[in-house]
């Protein structure tokens, strides 16, 4: 297994170190101690998983994007809790409750992903319209089921441990995130599916002539996005011990920001999982730094917006240089 270190990867590694160092200087040593590192790592998965979904959708090309991620994540948590509330008592059978919670949430994510996949691959909707519609639909269902209020799960030991307890120094949900990222990375890089997905995103026409089953690939891609979103939903429920319809209302932006910052091409055909992971960690460190410095949420959103435009600008610049090199 060879491992390329390209410019994007080196850049993201430097950004991670730089933001950590900035935190060490601005906040003090407490920013770099094990507790803070663990707490930051625990916060990465929810956004990281959504960003991986956005990456997959973007790679598939043709304006591919998944705007429904956080909506589906919240909906899976809401449905899983509502189903279990009256059937399994979390006090008597906490382990059973946690596993069924995860199972139902994953099922909801699968169904939601299949819906997106069907609309985009079979019904031929553009990804923007399809996921915009399902975003409203998923959010709307979550609002309707909860009457618009947050539902507290209470303390459920196994679920809480998954969200907040480190094992061997690594928070469990972060370990799961890394594992999912690793699997996804291997699939993208070494499996026929990954190769076909990248080809499809690079040049849909050529892929079609090469006999690649475009519809099946798109369907699988958006289904995977749905499943990733529901894993994010489980992590959110475990970490916050509650489910609500409007959790993470700026996550659509941040997930796209993470993907764009990781060098995923919005036009499709290119994206590396390791870069998305590093991009997610660097943004999380930055966000924690803002926390320590008591910077308001509004200003944080401003920073994310500016960063998104800046990274779009720099990736656009690279593309131009690349074209020039190609011609000359």
């Amino acid at each position: 297994m060879e491992f390329r270190v390209d410019r994007q990867l080196a850049f993201l590694a430097v950004v991670n170190v730089a933001v950590l160092a900035a935190g060490g200087v601005l906040v003090g040593a407490s920013f770099l101690d094990i507790y803070n590192l663990q707490s930051m790592a625990g916060q990465v998965p929810e956004l990281g998983l959504l960003a991986l979904g956005v990456m997959l959708a973007m790679i598939s090309g043709n304006g591919g994007i998944d705007l429904s991620g956080i909506a589906l994540a919240n909906l899976s948590g809401v449905i899983a809790y509502l189903v279990l509330r009256d059937t399994v008592s979390p006090d008597d059978a906490p382990l059973m409750f946690s596993w069924s919670f995860a199972g139902i949430a994953l099922l909801v994510g699968l169904v939601g992903g299949i819906l997106n996949g069907f609309l985009i691959a079979r019904a031929g909707l553009t990804p923007i319209i399809a996921t915009l519609g399902t975003q409203l639909f998923f959010t709307g269902l979550a609002v309707a089921f909860t009457n618009g209020s947050a539902l507290g799960l209470g303390f459920i030991e196994p679920l809480d441990a998954f969200g907040n307890t480190p094992v061997l120094g690594v928070p469990l949900c972060f370990a799961l995130f890394l594992m999912i990222a690793l699997i996804l990375g291997i699939v993208l890089r070494y499996s026929p599916f990954g190769l076909r997905l990248l080809l499809l995103g690079n040049n849909a026409k050529a892929a079609r002539y090469a006999g690649i089953a475009e519809k099946r690939i798109l369907f699988l891609t958006y289904t995977a996005c749905g499943v990733l979103a529901s894993v994010a939903g489980i992590v959110i429920a475990a970490r916050t011990s509650s489910v609500k319809w409007d959790y993470g209302n700026s996550y659509v932006l941040i997930a796209i920001l993470i993907a764009v910052m990781a060098g995923v091409r919005p036009e499709g055909g290119y994206g590396r999982v390791i870069c998305v992971v590093l991009s997610a960690t660097s943004l999380q460190i930055l966000s924690s730094l803002f926390n320590f410095m008591d910077i308001s949420n509004f200003f944080r959103d401003l920073a994310w917006g500016v960063l998104l435009l800046v990274f779009l600008a720099t990736s656009g610049f690279d593309a131009k240089a690349w074209f020039r090199a190609l011609r000359g």
């Binding site: 309707a144 659509v252 401003l302 779009l312």
Partner: protein
Amino acid sequence: MTDTTFNGATPDGNDKVSLGSAWRWLLRHPPVVTFALIVLVCLVVGTINTDFWQVSNLFDILRASVVRGLFALGVLVVLASGGIDVSFTAIAAFVMYTVTMLVTNLLPGLPMPVILLVAAAGGACFGALNGVLVHALRAPSLIVTIGTQYVICSFLLTFVGTALFMNIPGSMEAFGKVALFTHQSANGSISVLPAFVLVLAVAAVVTWWILERTLIGRAVYAVGGNPGIAERLGYNLRTVHIFVFAYAGLLAGIAGVMHVASNRLANPFDLAGTELEIIAAVVLGGARITGGSGSVIGTLLGVVLITLVSNVLILVGIPSTWQLAIIGVFIVLAGTVFSLRAKR
């Protein structure tokens, strides 16, 4: 024989050929589908709850359509050019709040036409910035405008203010109160159709004129249909990009002021988050998100449909919490129907 069917009766007895051709005709005329949906919703709601058939209800729907309609006309022009804009609500919120603030604090006597001009110019500047960014960054307009949406909205909340303006300038309040038509119902209650619905009417006519009767309108559809060919035909992509986003921004600025005038307060948290239902309305009106199509009349019908759905659910006993889910279903269904049309 089709000429034996009565006017208004459902052609159940028709053979498959004419059903098929009717279906094809409908797909070529998306506004008809939208209109049929409106009639259907009205009939269903009106049958379940006869309170629906009231002039005051009609006035409410028209009044609520003004801000949405102004937004939607801007989105229509952007969609027709093959782009998408999600930052218009942020632009509107920024413009309405800063303009209200400036007029209240510095120039309380400013007349309404000047306020409207300032708002339109401010909105157009933000929109032009969108256009420049979309063109210069060569990135999908969705991603660019998500970025500018957050920048504009958070800049407003971080640096301009978060407090409500309860006392809006007198000229704006007076403008919101001017009645176009007053109706007194049988039980003595008075309902008023505000004159600012005319602003939407003017904007609709102007947008129709730009899209159908001017060179830039041709350019918008041409670029939306196929940017590569349009560029080779001599259309300037940069001009079109800047124009469509600036026009959407201009309408958003006006919509922001209309929002203040009709609600009699300026809340910086208002409007944000409504962009999806506006895009839904335009798509329901038959505009394809891939560009090159869409009509003013379809867009207005889409707006009426969305407003109808948000206003009348309560009347038929559906809790308002279901509103979002239903709008979501509408987008998906309309998108599917119109994508089938595209395949033909």
